[in-house]
Every structure is written in C-alpha cells, then in structure tokens.
Amino acid sequence: MYSGSGSRGEKLSTLKLTVVQYGILFMMLALAAGLWRLQVLRVDDYRLQAEQNRIRKEPVMAARGKLFDREDRLIVDNYPSVSCYLVREQSRNVDDDLPLIARGLDLDLEQLRATLRRYRTRPVYEPIPIKQEVTADEQAFIEAHRNELPELETIDVERRLYPRDGFAAHLIGYVGEVSEEDLNNPRYASYEPGDVVGKAGVEETYDQLLRGEDGSRDVVVDSHGREVGYLRTQHAIPGQDLKLTIDIDLQRTAELALGDASGAVVAMDPRNGEILAMVSHPSYDPNAFAVRINRKDWNDLIDNPNHPLMNKAIQDQLAPGSTFKIIMSAAGLQEGVAQNLHVNCVGGGTFYGRFFHCDRHHGVLNIEQAIPLSCDTFFYTLAQKLGIDTIAKYATEFGLGQKTGIDLPNEMAGVMPSTQWEMKNFHQRYYPGNTISVGIGQGETQVTPLQLARALGGIASDGHFVRPHVVNPEQLPAEFRQALQDSFPGSGDKTVPLNPDTWMIITDGMAAATTTGTAAASHIEGIDFAGKTGTAQVVGGGDTHTKGGAKTPNSWFVGMVPRRNPEIVIAVLQEHGDWGSLSAHIAAEVVTTYVNKKRMADHNILNQASLDKPVEVGAVWTEPAPAGPKRSAASRQDSSLHAGHFMVDPKPLTGDLASAQPRLPAWLLAMPLRFKEGQP
C-alpha cells in the first residue's frame, strides 16, 4: 500500500483552494460575458449572417484546350454535353425516389444505389454525378419532374472528342476522373475530387495548360435548398489550345502502313527534335475513357498480350538487332579502328572459343560494304577490337540506355551494358564473350524506337543530337517550359564532335543499304533515302520465321531523308515482324508521303509567298491589261493566248488577297522583273 512520507496529516491550504475557486468563477463569468455579447448584444447581426448562409456555390466547367497538328488542323475537339447530378439535400427522401430516377434516366437501380452509397460520407449538399451524356429525352424527363424530383440537377459540360480508331491515341493520351492516389500526390495539389485530369500522353504532360480554370456561380437557395436566383458568376477560363508537332498526313500514312502489326513508328525532324509522327499498335479508343471505361473493356486492354496501352515508341525496350551496327560503326570509325579493318566472312567466325554465325558468306569486306550488307562477322570482329566499355561509351554518348527527355510521361530508358553496369546489377565481372553479341545488337542491350531515331538523327547530322518533343515549345509560358525540362530529364540537346569520315561513311553505307543492300526492295527512285535494317532475335527464339509468332525475331528499320543532314529520321519496329527489310517498306511509305508533300508545298506559291526572295510564277493570259506587263516583241497580236513566267517579289501580297479583283492583282502587274514568253 502506498504511503508516501509526510502524506499523512498534510492538507492542502484552504487559501490556495479558495484562490482556485475564484479563478474558476472568473473564467465562468468571462465565458458568460462572451455568450452575452454574441447572443444578446449582437444577435441581430448574426441572425442576418445566418440568413445569408443560404448561398451555394455551383461550378462552371472550363472547356479543355484543343489540340491541333503542325498545320493547325484540329485533332482533339470538345463537344457540349449535359451531365446529371443528384443533390441529396434537396430531397425529402432520396431512397424512395430512386426507382423513378432510374427509370427516367435509364440507369441500373442497383448501380445507382451503389453510387449513392459510395458518397454516403460526403456532405449532403455536394452534388453526386449519376449520369453523363444525358439525352434530350432524359433532359425532358428531368424538366417534367422538377417538383417531384427537386434533387436532380443538370450541368453543361464540355467533353473530349478524340479521333476515331485510336488515331495517335498514345501520343494524345486520354482524360479521366482524378484518382484518390493522384490527390495525395503534391503534383495534384490544386485538384479536387471529381476533376477531370489528363491520364496519359500530351493530355497528362500538358494538363496544367489544357485544363483551364473552372469558374463558379453563387446560387441563392431557399430554406428547402431550391434555387431561387443567381448572385455572381465567375466565368470559367478555357484551357490553352496546343499545337502539336505531328503532321496528320504523315501520322495517317504511318498508321496505315503499320497496319495490324504490333509495333511502333516514330518520325522526327532531327534538326529541331519535332516529332512528325508517332504510332503505336495495337491502339485503343481514348473516347472510351472520357466518360468512364467499363470494367470489361478495361480488362480487355490490360489482358491483351500486345499491350495496347503501352506507347511502344517510347516504352518498348528491345534488342536493337543490326540497327545497332550504326552505333558500332560510329564507335569504330571514331576510334580509328574500323577504317582499315578487313574481315573475311566465311558464314561466321570464332570468338572466345565459340563460333558466331553470320547469315551469309560475305567474303572479304571493309566497313563500306559491311554496313549495307549487314555482315555480322565484320561487326563481331569490330566489337572484339573495341571492347564493351568503348562501345558503351559511344552508345551512351548517343543517348542509349537513358531517356531522351521527350515531353511524354513514362518514357523508358533502355539498357546499355558495360562492365560497370554488370557490376552494379549482377555483382560480377563482365564476360568479354558477351561483347560479340552486343556488336550486332543482341545480348542485354535494350533500346526504344525513339532512342534509335534520335541517335541516328544525331549521327547523320554531324553529331548534333536533339531533345524530341511533340508540342511546339514556343507556345508555352516560360516557367512551364522550365518545369517541363526539369520533370522530363534526359539526354536532351547535345553535340558530339564526329570526324568527317565517320558520318560520311555511315550515311553512304546506309544509302547503299536501300539501293543494293538489305533494304534494296524499299528503294525509292528519286529520293535520297538511306537506312539500316535490323532483325533482332528474341530470347529463346530461333530461326522460326513465321510472322507474328512468339519466337519470331523483332523487325527493325531506321532511316532518313536525305542521307546527310536529314530532314526526317524514322524508326520502325514490328514485334515478331520477322526480317528487318519488312519494316523498311513501312518507313519507305512514310518517307514517300513526306517527300511528296514537301515537293507539292515547295511548288505552291501561297506557301512561298511568305518568303522574302522573289518567286517564280507561271501565267497564261489572252489580252494584255491596260498597264500590263512589258511584253516581248514576239507577240503583238492582242487576241492571241500568251503564256510565260514571272519572278515576283511576294512581299506586297499580304492583305491583298481579300480584295482580289477579277483582273490580275496589282502586285503581279507592278512587279515583273523579267519574263520569258512562249507560244502555247
């Protein structure tokens, strides 16, 4: 039993307890005084404020920014739609009304009950979304039942309209309701539950610009919560429209050329990193996500072995196969090893005690012949001479094994093995024999199509490597551009000094590949098309050349037009697509579209008109205008038909087309510098 010393007989002093009692009395009096002040002295003031508390905020939805292609052609649009919400506060008994609501709005009663159960813990005045895409009939139902069902509210929203058939779906991405996880992420601090947010592609990366800012409207409600008027409307600020770098024509051609194959096509302008086309197949329909995707469709997407949700152009990491020989050649030539290397191919060669096959007996060849013929034996030998770390050094310089920094979410980095990498990941020394496989793009090396396109673009442009992007950065606010650079780190813009020899020999070799080499069948007459095929064996695969089979090699092609300082580089991947030459056809189609389009544009005066230099114009006329062009002495007959061309300075064109007159426009009449004329 407790018996502390001195506890017996000791008592608390009565004085101190009295002090405490007075302290408590004082506190109580202070609280009572506070209550008096609020409830008696200022009661009218607070009564008024309680009345004014009957104002509810209603959101006004902002329209999301539209997406255009590089020529301002609309790709992603919005369309007006009506959504129906249920506000429990406004109903006497929601549960009794549910069967009627379900019937009128064509909803499943059980599902409707489940929705309401999910929102049970939210405040009763919070609107619960119960139906999107309300039809005219259903809207009439809601109007007709205003009195019986005061809890139903409709709100005008702008919904996303994506191109059909999953056109450019991976690049564009899709939107959906912000998830619980996202809300806990500091990046989404300004988002509220129910907000629509970009979930993939450009929609995700540029969500902040595209989403705009929702406005709000103060709605006055009566004591039953019914709306009786509006007080103040804060208009929504629509999202910013964005111009993408892709070209619809090229994108369309690439989509069609790839057909049903599982794979990717990416075309880029290596001078500035603008992505001209980016295709990944199989695709999905982003419109299905815009409302709420149903479980079955979602499971189908998830379970599909060809990964329709994956953007294969930036996320598929595979062995590059023979396309890697471009990197090998660059490394070999930079090191001065490849120039004088002569290898006798007898259908393979023995390295580190093992025989490595080549698909043909190429005989003696040098690098100029080895690139177009894609001779494995040559590159085995080169790989052995260089060693893994030299190869890795150049491959890394050219951006392999790291993200490119493209402005799309979830890019993959790929893998570039080296002794250091082996030590870090497997805690063992690198086996030199593996270098031989790396030399022909097999082994542990993994690249994405975009990485290959960027690497080739850099090598063919005298070592100027660029950061790829799909949205033209000029239209972005400066701080957003900076944030973009920070959140998508990667190899970016970079210059690697190359010997003149290096890129001349490689580009010439690749040009030979599409004329006499492995991709000769994809030769395009009149276009300086160069490229390199790759037939990358898959793990556990053999020589089963059945297209689409699980063990069939992946088919690669990378190419560019023209061969040096190209305007377009393209990478094509067909998973299990068999020979690389089959992918070369796809690249050839895209490239042909590009060149044809460019040639047509080059000969279109309206396009040229914005240039500063004089433009050559052809013309046909039957009689000279009063102040007409000075004609040559050859034609003095007024009634005869005349033809000729002019050199015209197009500057005065601006603004004049609108007031075009039936006769030759003044600028044309005023500006002829010289003209030749011939008889028609």
């Binding site: 000791e10 608390l12 101190k16 609280l31 009661v43 009564r47 309680a50 009763v124 004591s223």
Partner: protein, 367 residues
Amino acid sequence: MRRFMSFRDFDWALLSMVLAICTISVFEIYSATLHTKYADFHAHTKQLFWITGGLAAMFLFSKIDYHRLLDWIPWVYGASLLALVAVKLVGHKVLGAKRWISIGPMHFQPSEWVKLILILIVARYFANLGGRSLTWKEIFKVLVLVGIPMVLVLIQPDLGTALTYTPILVAGLFLGGINLRQALILVTCAVVLVAGVWTSGKILKPFQKARLTSFINPDNDPKGTGYQLKQSLIAVGSGGVWGKGAAKGTQTQGDFLPIPHADFIFAAFGEEHGFVGAIFVLLLYFFILMRLIQNAQTAADLSGSLIIMGVVAVLTFQIAVNVGMVIGFMPVTGIPLPLMSYGGSSVLFTFLALGVAMNVRMRRFVN
C-alpha cells in the same frame, strides 16, 4: 484498518449533475446531427454506450483504493510512454495525424489516457514532497515527468491534447508548494520558450500555427479554420436569448457548422437553446467543479487532494478552451468539451477521472 466501503459514501450529488450533462449531451448529439451527413453515424446511440461504459468504469475505479493506484502508477506511466512511441511507429493516420492504435476492432487514442496517468503521477510526486517549499531540482524533475509525454504527443501531431497536460503541471506546482519567485522565473522561461518555438518555424507545423492565429481574425481565412470559427460564431450568435429550438438550428442543419456533435457541440447547443440554455450548462459545470474542490478539501490526505485538484485542473482547462473556442475567445485546437462532445476516449477519460475523485471522497474517513 480499512472501513467497509459502501455506496452510501458515494457522491450522489456530483453524479446527478454529471448525468444531467450527459443527458443533455445525448439529446444534443441527436438533434445536431439529425439532418446532416453525420445522421447515419448514429452518434447519439454510440454516445449512450460510451456513457454506460464510463459509468461502469467509474464504479469499478471507485472500488480500488486510490493509494493502490498510486502504487502502480510509475509502472503505468512507463507503459504509457511506450504506447505513445508505438503510436508514432504503428499508428493509424487519421486526417494527417497519427493518434490511434488498433488492437483488434478497438481503436485507442493513448494520448487521452495519459492525462489520467499524469494526474496520478504528479499527485504522487508532490504528495511525497509533503507540501513544503520546492527546490529547483524538484521543480525540474516534475517538468521532465510531464514534458516527455507532452513532446511525444506534440509530434503526433496533436497540439490540443498536448496542451491539456499543462494544467496538470500548473496545478501541481501551485498546490505542491512553488513560491512566487520560482513561479515568476518559470513563467518567464515558458514565455521565452513559446516565443522561440513560434518563431523557429520548425516545431509547429504551418497548419497548427494557422489554426492558432485564425481566431484573432477569422475573416483572413474564411474557408479554413477561420471558416469553422466564423460559422460557430454565427451559430451561437443567431441563437439569441431563447434559441431556435431543438433540431431547428439552420447553421447546424445546413452543415455550415463543422463537426456539430463533437468539438462544436456547444455551438450547436447555443444555437438551439440560446443564452439561457448555454448559461444553464455552464452553471452545471461550475457546480461540478465546486463540488470537486470541496471533496479535495475533505480528502483524507494530501495525495487525495492533489488527485482531485488535478482532475479539476484538466476539466476547467477543457471547458475554458472549448467554450472559449466556440465563442471566439480561443484558437481552434480540437479539444473536446468534457461529457458533452461525442467521443469514446474523451467520455471514458472523464468518467475514470471522476471515478478516482469519487474514490478519494469515499475514503475521506479512513484512519
């Protein structure tokens, strides 16, 4: 020798006042949540269970001699420190703070029980010193004794509960024999410490600071804590002298008043029953506190008096801070109103504390 204990010695007057407040509490919880989002939660029935459980615990506690409790208390104190550390390690996160641990289906908020443990251990400490003047070393020891659990609760973070530990310390020091000079020095140190904590910007989280200052000018923050405060003032003020009637408060029913059954129950009550009702409840509290102080005076020994005065200190502090918050005198700290606010931990603590106080009274004629 121990005399036979009978419930004749039980403080029936105190109990009836306590039950009166509990009855008001259950009715108010029912009417304040009637048409709100909390209606499905059936807080009033749950509160009834807690009160019943609390009463049982109170009778049980009054059977155990408080001297025995004081024997055990150092062990319990050690265990409670471990529990607080456990909360930090394995606790649930609710609304951004780790305060709860679960054992099976039960959720515990150990910081609430620590109050009772601190009352007992501080009473034991000062009773051992026998009421003579204190040395600085003795003062320092009691500061550490209360300071350790306080810091552990503060980092949960649960500023409100940590603050309720201070009245135990203050009452203990005041009644335990601190002299005026020591008191002045301590107050000065406390002021410097608080000012240092406030300006360092590390210990108090920004949301805690914002909460603490928004009562000075609620219009600065009309959507956050300031919003809660503003709605509370409107509720109380619009209640007027006689109130709007049970379940007729527009502030409460319109979901404008935050958590009307817990932290802001007094605002809901003030809206429905006006100045008259609010003063009635305050008077009940006043008489309960006076009765407890009277019991402290008649206690058999110093330790008994100190225990009751610890209970008085905590209850007084909570009433002052909660009602003060509701009428805009105090910051929004999330301290419940004893016996009125909904909440198992709070109700059980109050009844156990009252049980110990009863215990002391029942043994006032021992030896």
